[in-house]
């Protein structure tokens, strides 16, 4: 057993038992971050803060929400919104954060792609991040079911139908997932459990993995420069803070993180109080009605691009294309054959690939919401094919890239 001395202070008492000084050193004051990174690297902190807001507001909502097909709708729209003190606040924080978190995730992802941050030993950061994205998607979808509105019900119907696998006709699988022939009580109960317990647990674990994946390869930087972290850290510790290319996470980078978070929160709370409806589809304020299909069924905005990869094709090719879109981002570190981990602007053809991909995904997102008619169908089909072609072309484009 370790040797304990009489503590001189509370800090000393804790230090002997929890090694708080060592933890602080490793996690904060000697966790080295490149100096040359811009505000886009603060998206991680923004995501952590937003996830915190989701967790806290979710706990409050959980106190009054009733997972019952007969009472779920009113428990959200009447009990929480009208009767519970500040229930409206928690609900709007939760609803707005659920939408905004995806905006930030996409910015975070495209930042990673632009700066090549998934390459050169950082593959696990990328893969764990993609796992987080997929789990967040499942979390968002299961949460969207809970108010049991019209779009909840019909989106649940459409998405679970995907598991029939087109002409495979795996109807038994669909019923097994739903626990019924149509979305009903069993369906609501299990999605409730997924949303409030299993998926949040998985997310917490994956956040841990994502952070851990960062420790050894370190954060990339704006120039893709390979830093000798130990040498630069020694410089910093010797007092040459201005000359060192690295800074401590706390308080150096954290102060920048908090600055970005502060500005972000102004935007976030503006939405919560004055524009909360942007995140909530009006159709979902009609109670679920299994006998009445909404005129247009579409998912939330953050799923539209992958929905649009499914929609313009016939059933089976559509499902294959959809499956392709779900897994292909995982393979990015291996499909990009270039040895460079530098900003796209310095990578020739890849730079074009990046911007075309970004615009293509926005086009897919827009077409995914619009009714699949006339010119919109055609644009959607072209954009979906472009998406697939871009990914197939990626290894060939990057293979030719010269080492910088």
């Amino acid at each position: 057993m370790a040797h304990f001395t009489k503590a001189k202070s509370l800090h000393d008492w804790l230090n002997q038992r929890l090694a708080v000084d060592a933890v602080r050193r490793v996690m904060a004051t000697e966790y080295w971050i490149p100096k040359n990174i811009n505000f886009l690297w603060a998206m991680g902190m923004i995501l952590a803060v937003t996830f915190g807001l989701l967790l806290v507001s979710g706990i409050f909502l959980l106190m009054y929400y009733q997972p019952n097909v007969a009472t779920a709708f009113d428990s959200v729209n009447y009990t929480i919104m009208n009767e519970v003190e500040f229930g409206w606040l928690w609900r709007h924080v939760h609803g707005v954060a659920a939408s905004v978190v995806f905006l930030i995730i996409y910015i975070h992802m495209f930042t990673g792609i632009y700066y090549g941050s998934y390459k050169k030993g950082r593959e696990m950061i990328w893969i764990s991040g993609m796992l987080l994205f997929v789990t967040f998607s499942a979390e968002a979808f299961s949460g969207y079911m809970l108010p049991w509105g019209q779009m909840s019900y019909w989106a649940g119907m459409v998405i679970t139908n995907l598991f029939a696998g087109g002409s495979l006709h795996a109807d038994g699988l669909v019923e097994w997932i739903r626990g019924d022939y149509v979305p009903a009580q069993a369906f609501l109960n299990r999605f409730f459990m997924l949303h409030v317990l299993l998926l949040p647990l998985a997310i917490l674990a994956l956040i841990g993995l994502h952070f851990a994946a960062l420790r050894i390869p370190h954060v990339n930087n704006q120039d893709g420069e390979e830093l000798d972290f130990e040498a630069e850290a020694a410089k910093y510790k010797a007092g040459d803070k201005a000359g060192s290319k690295v800074i401590a996470f706390a308080n150096d980078f954290m102060s920048k993180d908090m600055m970005v978070v502060g500005i972000y929160l102004v935007f976030f709370f503006y939405l919560v109080f004055f524009h909360y409806d942007f995140a909530m589809d009006p159709v979902n304020f009609d109670p679920a009605d299994g006998l009445k299909t909404p005129a247009h069924i579409y998912p939330e905005w953050y799923f539209l691009w992958s929905y649009e990869i499914l929609r313009p094709f016939p059933t089976d090719p559509g499902l294959i294309a959809f499956g392709f879109a779900q897994v292909i981002f995982f393979l990015l570190p291996f499909l990009d054959r270039s040895p460079n981990a530098v900003p796209a602007s310095r990578r020739g053809l890849f730079n074009i690939w990046f911007w075309v991909m970004l615009v293509d995904m926005i086009v897919l997102t827009a077409m995914g919401k619009l009714p699949p008619e006339g010119i919109f169908s055609t644009i959607g089909l072209v954009a979906a094919i472009t998406f697939i072609v871009l990914w197939i072309a990626l290894p060939f484009i990057t293979k030719k890239e010269k080492e910088l």
Partner: protein, 314 residues
């Protein structure tokens, strides 16, 4: 200022995406219908300048005129039937006329008295030539000038109704929507505000009456008109206003009649719907302002802290 350039790029793509999936997509999915300002231009004008209120009173109260079916509590005339029986007879409970003059537009009232199916734009449902009479019988006149008599009746209804500034949201809602549409967040059924019951038996009895009323309504309208509790959020004020103004603009052939409310009454209806579907809007704005002030101060301190820390790092 490279970071500002990056921020501009991020904001640009975010706004483009937002524009496409929200305003643009919705403009493509839902046709925009302009408000007609509750002018009811298709209806004939009514001249109220030298209308005779006393004559109007006699006509409204006269046997075989309005009070055969309508109640008028302000004149001490109770309803001839209870709501359930009335709904079984006419499809829907005829409104109490006390505040009709305050809620309905004068032109509309005059047209309604002369030709209900026309004023309500339900001629596709009630065609007298095919023997499909509208349950409200048109007023054929008491022997004088029909238009003058109708103007007198409208003037009388206006003279007894509550003053514009005293019209409550619930009164407006009752006459405009409340006999067909429930609003359970406001405790409203098609039979009116749900009373507080001491005994469960009484409550069950009332519920049974509501169900009976709804059955008649269902048969009359083709389906049970939707509950309006949070229509303010599922449809928005603009949609509701323009829909009420002329439902045929949205749903050709719908059984929902043109309600004929005036602009002020419509504002009151919207207020009622906001009270039920967006009850905390005032509190939200107030708390919102304070939170914004706090969070802006927080952001300013965060920026200053960053500047202080980074002074040594450059």
């Amino acid at each position: 200022m490279k970071e500002l350039k990056i921020l501009a790029v991020v904001v640009f793509f975010t706004l483009v995406t937002y524009y496409l999936v929200e305003p643009f997509a919705h403009s493509q999915m839902h046709k925009h219908i302009e408000s007609e300002g509750f002018a009811y231009e298709d209806l004939a004008d009514v001249n109220l300048t030298d209308a005779n209120v006393t004559n109007g009173q006699e006509l409204v109260m006269g046997a075989g005129a309005c009070l055969g079916c309508h109640s008028m509590e302000v004149a001490g005339m109770p309803a001839p039937m209870d709501p359930v029986t009335a709904a079984q007879s006419y499809g829907v409970n005829p409104p109490d006329l006390s505040n009709a003059g305050a809620v309905y537009d004068a032109k509309f009232l005059a047209s309604l008295i002369k030709n209900p199916a026309h004023a309500l734009i339900v001629e596709h449902k009630f065609d007298a030539e095919k023997g499909q009479m509208h349950p409200m019988v048109p007023f054929y006149g008491a022997g004088g000038d029909l238009d003058k008599e109708v103007a007198d009746m409208v003037a009388y209804l206006q003279s007894v109704a509550v003053k514009k500034e005293d019209l409550t949201a619930e009164q407006a809602y009752e006459l405009a929507c409340g006999r067909c549409h429930a609003n359970h967040y406001a405790g409203w059924t098609q039979m009116g505000k749900t009373p507080v019951f001491k005994k469960e038996q009484d409550e069950l009895k009332y519920k049974t009456q509501v169900l009976d009323y709804q059955d008649s309504l269902k048969a009359y309208m083709g389906k049970l008109p939707p509950d309006l509790s949070i229509y303010i959020r599922s449809r928005g004020a603009h949609y509701i206003e323009t829909f009420v103004e002329n439902p045929q603009n949205y749903l050709k052939g719908t059984a929902m009649p043109r309600v004929g409310v005036n602009e002020h009454a419509m504002e009151k209806v919207i207020e009622y719907l906001e009270d039920s579907g967006d009850a905390k809007r005032v509190e939200r704005e107030e708390v919102g302002k304070n939170v914004m002030i706090y969070i802006i101060i927080f952001a300013i301190f965060a920026i200053l802290w960053k500047k202080a820390i980074w002074r040594d790092l450059h």
